[in-house]
């Protein structure tokens, strides 16, 4: 059986763990915040106020301080190679914390919560738990860790999707999310076991060394890659692993939809990039020893299918949340384009696109919430004439949608510009796939413009012309997001430099 480790070995392990803890402070802090929120909920039970939300906001904001402190630390592995710290991971730490902050802000604006649920206690704790999970997803360097962190994100996601317990659609969303999630993580785990079977390693860097040194049966390797891709594809919502997303996005509470569509998707992308870039050597990479497999072609198929399917099916949607769900499938396709390039510029473009998607998608969902507060509906038909009743919301939504199409002068345009530039630096190799991206973005204009079309070009059925007051705080936030979308569309250097800084990934040097 197993040999018990000697005393010296145990000493060494303890020392190593102690050393690693210093690199793990943001995660520890967030876990403490998670528990604090549960305690606050117990203490402040029954009181209808924003105490919990504000605690969450302050707590999350505090975590950025600890993340900022990690900039000085050297990139490297901790906890015996289970976990890594690098610029790439730091980027996503900021990303997830910020998206959680925005999600909390958006939740506070959503009046549906007042109607549907009595207590918000677990909600904010779960948001924080999801942040922890996603941060770990972006930093995992070990198959076991990848699986665990993904499950943490998924479980919190299931609960959040079904948070409106008495609402049938919300429960349906949670169940669908769960069933699809269970199947895909099962498939992914099977893929992991195959990889472990081939290489006898769980650390992704060691796996890549093993594969490079000894090669592998390409059939098994392709099968394993496909299975793993099923798990990642489910998280990023790419075709053909997208089936859950329209229903889940439509049924979930809108802030959760926004959070899932931005943060959870980004976590999937972080994982996908790290896993494929580091673990599986690609056939095209030097040295050309024909050991790798052509996973780029797989991603290419996923990307093209997502762009076409997401954009085309969105044309027929009548519900705005559902429309945005299909749009998010399409955006997964655009993001995959940047990954395909597989160099530093491509990574930079992908990260930039994630940032731009963060701003514009949260903005769009925020307006959807504000409108549904006033009208109680998310149907396209009920948006008629709203442009005049809420001028700021209408203008802001138009800006966000234009940005989602990718027209200047918005940040979405710069995102697309960077992605396509990255593709074209490879000469004519990827031109055809850039063409698909371009064509589908023209298609997307039609369905995105359906919303302003209803808001401005059509008169509402009810003749009342009184304007709807949004309140001060939502107005400021909306204006801020709108200005951000436009500002970064004109002066995008800071965002882009940050994305470039973050494209450094431990274990691989991208050209």
């Amino acid at each position: 059986m197993f040999e018990l480790p000697s005393g010296a070995e145990i000493q060494g392990i303890i020392a190593s763990v102690q050393g690693s803890v210093g690199f793990f402070i943001p995660e520890i802090y967030l876990s403490a915040l998670f528990m604090l929120l549960i305690v606050v909920d117990l203490v402040a039970k029954g009181r209808k106020n924003n105490l919990l939300a504000i605690t969450t906001l302050v707590g999350l904001a505090g975590s950025t301080f600890f993340i900022y402190q990690q900039h000085g630390l050297p990139a490297g592995e901790i906890f015996f190679g289970m976990y890594v710290l690098d610029e790439f991971a730091l980027f996503f730490k900021y990303f997830f914390v910020l998206s959680a902050i925005v999600a909390v802000v958006v939740t506070m604006a959503d009046e549906q919560f007042d109607r549907e649920v009595k207590s918000m206690g677990e909600y904010y704790a779960l948001i924080v738990a999801m942040v922890i999970g996603m941060i770990m997803m972006a930093s995992s360097a070990d198959l076991i860790m990848i699986f665990l962190s993904m499950e943490l994100v998924s479980f919190t996601g299931y609960i959040l999707a079904g948070y409106f317990k008495r609402n049938a659609r919300s429960s349906e969303a949670a169940l669908k999310y769960l069933v699809y999630g269970a199947v895909s993580s099962g498939l992914m785990l099977y893929g992991f076991s195959l990889i472990y079977g081939i290489t006898a390693q769980t650390n992704i860097i060691k796996i890549s060394l093993e594969l490079a040194a000894h090669g592998s049966d390409s059939l098994v390797m392709i099968l394993a890659t496909l299975l793993v891709l099923a798990g990642f594809g489910y998280k990023i919502g790419a075709v053909p692993f997208h089936f859950w997303s329209p229903d889940v996005y439509e049924g979930s509470p809108t802030p959760v939809t926004a959070y899932l569509s931005v943060a959870s998707k980004a976590a999937g992308f972080a994982l996908l990039m790290r896993f494929f870039y580091v673990a599986i050597p690609h056939a095209a990479l030097p040295p050309e020893d024909k050991l790798g497999i052509d996973w780029l072609s797989l991603l290419m198929i996923l990307s093209v299918a997502s762009m076409i399917y997401g954009n085309v099916v969105a044309l027929w949607q009548k519900n705005v949340k559902r429309l945005l769900a299909y749009s998010s499938i399409a955006h997964a396709g655009y993001l995959l384009l940047g990954i395909l390039v597989m160099d530093q510029f491509g990574t930079q473009a992908t990260l930039f696109y994630l940032l731009s998607y963060f701003i514009m998608n949260f903005g769009a969902f925020y307006v959807v919430i504000l409108i549904s507060n006033k009208t109680g509906s998310e149907n396209l038909d009920d948006y008629r004439g709203l442009g005049r009743k809420m001028p700021l919301a209408g203008a802001a939504l138009t800006v966000f949608l234009i940005s989602l199409v990718g027209l200047p002068p918005t940040v979405g345009f710069i995102g697309k510009l960077m992605i396509f530039s990255a593709l074209l630096t490879k000469g004519s190799l990827y031109i055809w796939i850039a063409l698909v991206g371009i064509m589908t973005s023209v298609i997307s204009l039609y369905y995105y413009m359906l919303i302003p079309l209803n808001m401005y070009l059509r008169e509402s059925k009810q003749p009342d012309e009184k304007s709807m007051n949004l309140g001060m705080a939502p107005r400021i936030i909306l204006a801020f997001l709108m200005i951000l979308t436009l500002y970064f569309g004109l002066f995008f250097t800071p965002l882009s430099d940050f994305a470039k800084y973050s494209s450094a990934m431990f274990g691989i040097t991208l050209q």
Binding site: D343, Q344, F345, Q348, R388, T398, I402, L407, P408, P409, F413, K416, L417, F420, S421, L424, T425, G427, S428, I431, A434, L435, I438, M439, S441, V442, L445, Y446, M449, P452, L453, Y456, L457, R458, F491, F492, T493, S496, D497, K500, S503, Q511
Partner: protein
């Protein structure tokens, strides 16, 4: 100076944003002031412009600014892209002879558009904000010398135009607005790919870095990046890029077979927007060809001269025939636009100085004349609430001043000697006939003049001459929305042009007549730039390089 003329309308738009929406008159006046200030600046630019400097490409000694004037060049965005050096985008404005004429045209038409917008009653605030945004973007397109900047302005135009047609348009406005948006976006997104490809294929000799500068791109020796997609040896990709750009611009022109959005957009758009659309926006298509398409790919231009010429001829004849068949006056004018833009294409395809100068002059004249035509259509529509040609008859005796202006505009449009349209069309044909490639095309295109005369004279006759149409016209009532009901019998003397309408039309009439007699103010500005352009496009220069 150029920044000011570009951003004045946007500033006015921001001012309007602060004005409460009930203060309609203040909003209108702010817009008018901005437009007038723009006009003053345009005049200053015109006076200060030195017509001897050609522009088009980098100047002697490879100076990056070239001989452009009123140049403003600031670094705008500089991105570090790691292995690919850096992405440099400049805020680079400047004018040469080609753009300065368009700047003047844009300022003129924008100001007239504001006056014409006075009758807009619905959501005045939103209207003028969008209008000013559109005016800024149009002006920006004509003075941008950085491809990226050009592209940004080019795309910014789409959204205001969509809303201006979509909110303030006619009954079928939703369809027309989205059709316009999709068509133009379809053209321009492919332009985006070419733009990126060009960036990676060109370096600026002054800095050695990749550049979006159109000035640097207009010199073929700057395509010196080995293995780049649009490097001179990559003939196929350069052909593709040329076609992509050409289609993108041709949609805007609009060239057959991409023209179908135009009649819809015009018919649905309110009068001022039709004026802007025909007066300025269509010119952006041909301007883009001259500024970007041709000088960047001169050898492909030479290969495809006759194809462009054939499309020009199709536009001329097809547009005229369609105009002949129209019952709606505005649709007829819209098709006449298509026909007249065909002359521009034909002149460009000739590839010689006469043809090109003619094309540019035709762009200017078409801007003023068609603006007049659409204004006149708007005048009659405001009164009768119909544009059906056969509903009218004998109008000349009811609205004599109106009839006189219409006659001048119609004759200018068909190219009567003594009016500006004649000179430009004549130059186009001189150019087209003197070029071997386009001579047969020019011969066929002459037919277009005949058809043009036919539809214009026929409509003039049906509407203004003869007797009142007893079946239809008597029943027309003014102000069907229930405000004022003046029966058609009583039109005489009451409903002729009012002061505001005269203020819009008289300057255009004066310009049309003046430039028909003495075209040198415009031609003088064009010649040296066009000569340089022809030189850039000619094979001799290529072989010397």
């Amino acid at each position: 100076m150029l920044s000011l003329i570009v951003f004045l309308p946007i500033i006015a738009g921001l001012v309007i944003l602060a004005v409460p929406s009930s203060q309609k008159q203040i909003i209108r006046i702010v817009s008018l002031l901005a437009a007038l200030a723009q006009g003053v600046l345009a005049v200053l630019i015109w006076r200060g412009y030195d017509p001897s400097l050609p522009g088009i490409t980098a100047g002697p000694g490879g100076s990056a600014l070239g001989s452009f004037q009123f140049v403003e060049k600031l670094p705008w965005i500089s991105l570090n892209l790691g292995g690919f050096g850096s992405l440099n985008i400049e805020y680079f404005l400047g004018v040469d002879g080609i753009s300065v004429t368009m700047v003047i045209l844009t300022a003129l038409v924008s100001a007239i558009g504001v006056l014409s917008s006075w009758t807009i009653q619905k959501q005045v605030k939103g209207y003028f904000i969008l209008y000013n945004l559109l005016a800024s973007a149009m002006m920006g397109c004509f003075v941008a010398l950085d491809f990226f900047l050009f592209y940004v302005f080019w795309e910014i135009m789409l959204l205001p135009m969509y809303f201006l047609i979509g909110i303030w348009g006619g009954p079928n406005r939703e369809y027309a607005a989205i059709k316009f948006f999709l068509y133009t976006l379809f053209g321009s997104v492919f332009m985006l790919l070419v733009m990126i490809g060009l960036y990676f294929s060109v370096t600026d000799p002054a800095t050695g870095l990749h550049t979006f500068s159109l000035v640097a791109m207009a010199t073929q020796t700057n395509f010196n990046v080995a293995g780049a997609i649009f490097a001179p040896e990559n003939h196929l990709w350069r052909q593709i890029a040329f076609i992509v750009l050409f289609v993108g611009f041709a949609i805007k022109v609009p060239m057959f077979p991409f023209h179908t959005w135009l009649p819809d957009a015009h018919v649905e758009a309110p009068t001022p927007i039709s004026v802007i659309l025909a007066g300025v926006l269509l010119k952006l298509g041909t301007y883009g060809m001259i500024r970007i398409n041709f000088p960047l790919f001169p050898e492909i231009f030479r290969e495809s001269m006759y194809v462009i010429g054939i499309f020009g001829a199709i536009n001329i004849i097809y547009g005229a025939l369609c105009a002949l068949a129209q019952k709606d006056l505005k649709k007829m004018v819209a098709y006449s636009s298509i026909s007249h833009m065909g002359y521009v294409l034909l002149g460009l395809s000739a590839g010689n100085s006469e043809g090109m100068v003619g094309a540019l002059y035709q762009m200017f004249n078409h801007g003023t004349i068609t603006a007049m035509l659409f204004l006149l259509v708007g005048v009659i529509y405001d009164r009768a609430h119909t544009r059906q040609i056969d509903k009218f008859g004998g109008l000349a005796s009811y609205m004599p001043v109106y009839a006189a202006v219409v006659t001048i505009a119609w004759f200018a449009s068909l190219g009567l000697p003594g009016l500006s349209g004649f000179i430009s069309e004549a130059l186009v044909f001189v150019g087209a006939f003197s070029s071997e490639t386009t001579r047969p095309i020019a011969m066929v295109s002459v037919l277009g003049i005949v058809f043009g005369a036919a539809y214009l004279l026929w409509s003039l006759q049906r509407m203004f001459l003869g007797k009142r149409n007893d079946d239809a016209a008597y029943d027309l009532e003014v102000g069907q929305d229930g405000h004022e009901h003046i029966h058609f019998h009583d039109w005489k003397g009451k409903l002729d042009l009012d002061g505001r309408e005269l203020a819009m039309l008289v300057p255009l009439v004066v310009i049309t007549i003046f430039l028909g007699i003495y075209p040198m103010p415009v031609l003088g500005m064009l010649t040296s730039s066009i000569n340089k352009l022809v030189q850039v496009l000619s094979p001799v220069v290529m072989s010397q390089m």
